[in-house]
Symmetry: C2
Subunit: 235 residues, 2 copies
């Protein structure tokens, strides 16, 4: 939680600076469409569930993601932006990612949700370091995990324990997910200067320099490896 | 809300009579699985939406259905029943219905949600006349429409106005939905004596006699025709 008045120096509230405001709208639009597609994917993966309770559990996570979407949509409206227009630039990349990584099994769906959401969450947390206090608070709060991770780790570890061959297949699957995610992220970065500038400091604000970027990618990779080993898979 | 002690005469609370209790568990199990599949179907139909706002709107209805599912699941647990076991007898029929009526277009999805949910809602409301006060209150409250109907009517009428040929195709589609729903309902009725007895009074309780059943089907048909004409379609 951010204290009132805890706005960091050099980080004015969204709206004061048009370039900064556009970058924030981009960020919230990308996050919002990410949450909306997360809702759809989890709801659809729930159909692969091995039991009715597991199906309900996944549906519950989908509903939590939709709650995040609603908060982001409202913030976009409060900023005087049409949420559809803010999400539009990210539809193609996110849809392409999901089309190329449609899980064929319950376990693939779980690993995708855990690994994919994990990387996205870490990335947005890194970006949020350069945000004004209000946006920072919203972004970190919608990125909170609703207990999904614990459920996935338990299910995947059980499956790997029951049949060790599962482990190699899921590790390969996770590598494919990371590859597809990176390739779509590059596409978005090439397209959306404002969003990229927010990260690398090109908006004449405090941003990350090259060394900071390198160490960010290092942190993302390390967190990904930790997630993979908590699943009992090699990264 | 039901006042304590407002239980109707001849309608003891669920649990006093084993046959009645089994019928109520059947009813709540059927409704719960109906809500869970409604969640999945609406979430998946949202992918057919022509705009991001329409997609979000349908996702919002899916989330409302999941809230109903959670209430039914909790009630089943309060009755000392495993919710999965209570839903299980209805999985095959409901899945078969949805598999045979997977919408190919956004409008087919909307008509299915409106027409199908409408008939199911009317049917459960009729059944709930024979329930104890607590169960009656829960059933009528989860059957409340969350504004979905209004949205569907507006979208379908606009589409029919823009292209009158749409009307005949959607009217045919609605007839197919009703046919499939009836055939799956018969399958459930043949299988679940308790549930059927609840409706026709075979549990030695106040139920519907044949004349009452005939007039119930008459009311269901009339309500269906009204829904069709509010969509601008012939029944």
């Amino acid at each position: 939680m951010t204290e009132p008045g805890a706005t960091q120096p050099d980080q004015p509230p969204a709206g004061d600076d048009p370039a900064y405001r556009a970058a924030v709208v981009d960020l919230l639009g990308a996050l919002a469409y990410g949450e909306l597609t997360a809702f759809s994917r989890l709801a659809s993966d729930a159909d692969l569930a091995p039991s009715l309770s597991a199906k309900a559990e996944l549906a519950r996570f989908a509903v939590a993601e939709f709650g995040h979407f609603e908060r982001l949509r409202r913030r976009l409206q409060d900023l005087g932006t049409d949420p559809d227009a803010a999400m539009e630039p990210f539809v193609a990349a996110l849809d392409a990612f999901h089309d190329r990584t449609a899980p064929q099994t319950w376990l693939e769906g779980l690993v995708k949700a855990y690994v994919g959401d994990g990387i996205a969450r870490d990335f947005y947390r890194e970006v949020s370091a350069y945000l004004d206090a209000d946006t920072h608070e919203l972004v970190t709060s919608v990125l909170q995990d609703a207990g999904h991770a614990e459920f996935v780790v338990r299910e995947v570890r059980q499956a790997v324990a029951a049949d060790p061959r599962v482990s190699g297949r899921l590790a390969l699957w996770a590598r494919r997910l990371v590859g597809e995610a990176l390739s779509q992220a590059q596409r978005v970065a090439a397209d959306r200067d404002g969003l990229t500038a927010l990260l690398v400091g090109g908006l004449d604000r405090t941003g990350a320099d090259l060394a900071a970027l390198v160490s960010m990618f290092h942190r993302l990779t390390e967190a990904h490896s930790r997630r993979m080993s908590s699943l009992g898979l090699s990264a």
